[in-house]
Symmetry: C2
Subunit: 249 residues, 2 copies
Amino acid sequence: MTFGLFLPEEARDGPVPVLWFLSGLTCTHENAMVKGGAQAFAAEHGLALAFPDTSPRGEGVADDPAFDLGQGAGFYVNATEAPWSPHFRMWDYVAHELPTLVTRNFEIDEERQAITGHSMGGHGALTLAMGLPGRFRSVSAFAPICNPVASDWGRKQFTAYLGTDESAWSGHDASVLMAKRGFDGPMLVDTGTKDQFWDLLRTEALVAAIAARRQEAVVRLQPGYDHSYFFISTFMGEHVAFHAEALYR
Amino acid sequence: MTFGLFLPEEARDGPVPVLWFLSGLTCTHENAMVKGGAQAFAAEHGLALAFPDTSPRGEGVADDPAFDLGQGAGFYVNATEAPWSPHFRMWDYVAHELPTLVTRNFEIDEERQAITGHSMGGHGALTLAMGLPGRFRSVSAFAPICNPVASDWGRKQFTAYLGTDESAWSGHDASVLMAKRGFDGPMLVDTGTKDQFWDLLRTEALVAAIAARRQEAVVRLQPGYDHSYFFISTFMGEHVAFHAEALYR
C-alpha cells in the first residue's frame, strides 16, 4: 500500500495533529496530494496531512472492469464476499493499520486527529468519524456520498463487498449513522449545486438526519460548483482551517 | 489547439490584465491548471490566466518517441525543418494567434499582459518577453531552461526544429537574449537547489548575463526544492503577486 504524508515544520520539534484525506472513486493517494492544494494551508496551521490510497492494488488483487468497483473503489469497508475478502479491508487499513504505522514512525499526535474526504472518500470520512467515537475531533467532507444504501453509488458495491444482507450495510451509511448516533464534534460538508453526480450523493438524506439529530454541523451547498478538484481546491483552505480550530482547541 | 483560460469576477465588468503560463516538457494546457494552484491567487488579484498547450497535436502532426521532442515539446519556436515545419509554429501561436483570439473573445486587456512558465515554459516565457519588446510588463519563470544553445535540453530540439545553422537559434536562448538586449521591466526567477535537472537548466548562464546587464531582476535559488509542481505551487502565490504589482501599477 502506498500513501502520502505531509509534515509541517513543527513536526521537527514534536508530535503534530493530523488531518486524514480520503479520496474518491478512481483516485490513488496521489490525486489529492497533487490537485487538492491542502499542503500550503496545513503548513500555515501546523498540521500533518495523510493521504491513503482508495483500495488494495497489485498482482493477485481482485478487480472489476467498472470504474466504481474493485481497485480504486474500496468504499472503506472490510469485504466479506469473494473475490474481494482477501484484500479489500479498507476500513481496517484506514481505521487501524495506517494510523498505527504513521503514529509510530512519524511525529504525529494520535490524540489529535481529524478526517475529511471527497465523494466516496467523503462517505469514508463521515462513516469512520461516526463509527470510531472519540477518534476524530472534527469531520468534514467535499461532495460526500451520503446515503449509499439507497444509491447506485453504494448498493452495487455493498452487495459485492458485503453481500445481499442489507443489515451488514448500515454501519457504512452516513445518513443511517447520523440518525442512530451522530458525531461528537463539529462537522462541515460542502457540495456544489451543479454537482454532476448530485442524484447519486443523496445529500438530502444526510441533511435531514443532521437536522433531526440537531447535530453540530455546517452544510453548504455551493452555487455553481461541480464534483471536480477545482471545487475541492477552492474550499480546501476553509476545511483545513475548520479542522485546525478543532485540533488546536 | 486546446487552451485553458481563467477569468476573475472582475472580467464581468470589463477587461482585466492577463498572466500567461507556459508549461514544460510532456505537459498539455491542463497540468498547470490542475496542479499549479494559480487560480485562487489570480482571483484575489483580479487577473486572468491563460494556459496554452506546449505543441500542436492530433492526426497528421509529426511526433517523436522521445519525451523531449515533438508533441509536448514544442520549445516555443517556429520550426523550419521537416517534418516539423507544417505544424510546429509555437512561437507564432503563443505570440500572435492565441493572444488575438483571447483578447477578441474575452474581457482581456491586451495592454496589460505578463508571462511566466515552468522549465521549457520558463524558457518560452523569458524568450517571448525579451523577443517581443513592449508586449509584457513583467516576466517570471520557475526552473527555466536558461541556455538551451549549450544544453541537451535545447541543442537536440533546435537542430531538429531550426536546423544545424546555430545562428537561427540565438533568438531562442534566454541567456543570449539577456546579453544582447535584456527585458524592459521586472523579472523573477525561482529554481530549486535540488532540481534534478539542474545541469540541463544552466541557470548560471542566465544569472551571469543578468548581472552583466544590471537587469532589474530577482533570482532565487530555493533550498531543497526540486523540479516538480510541488515546487511551482509553493511559490505560485508570490509569482502571481509579483505580476499583479506590475500589471496594476
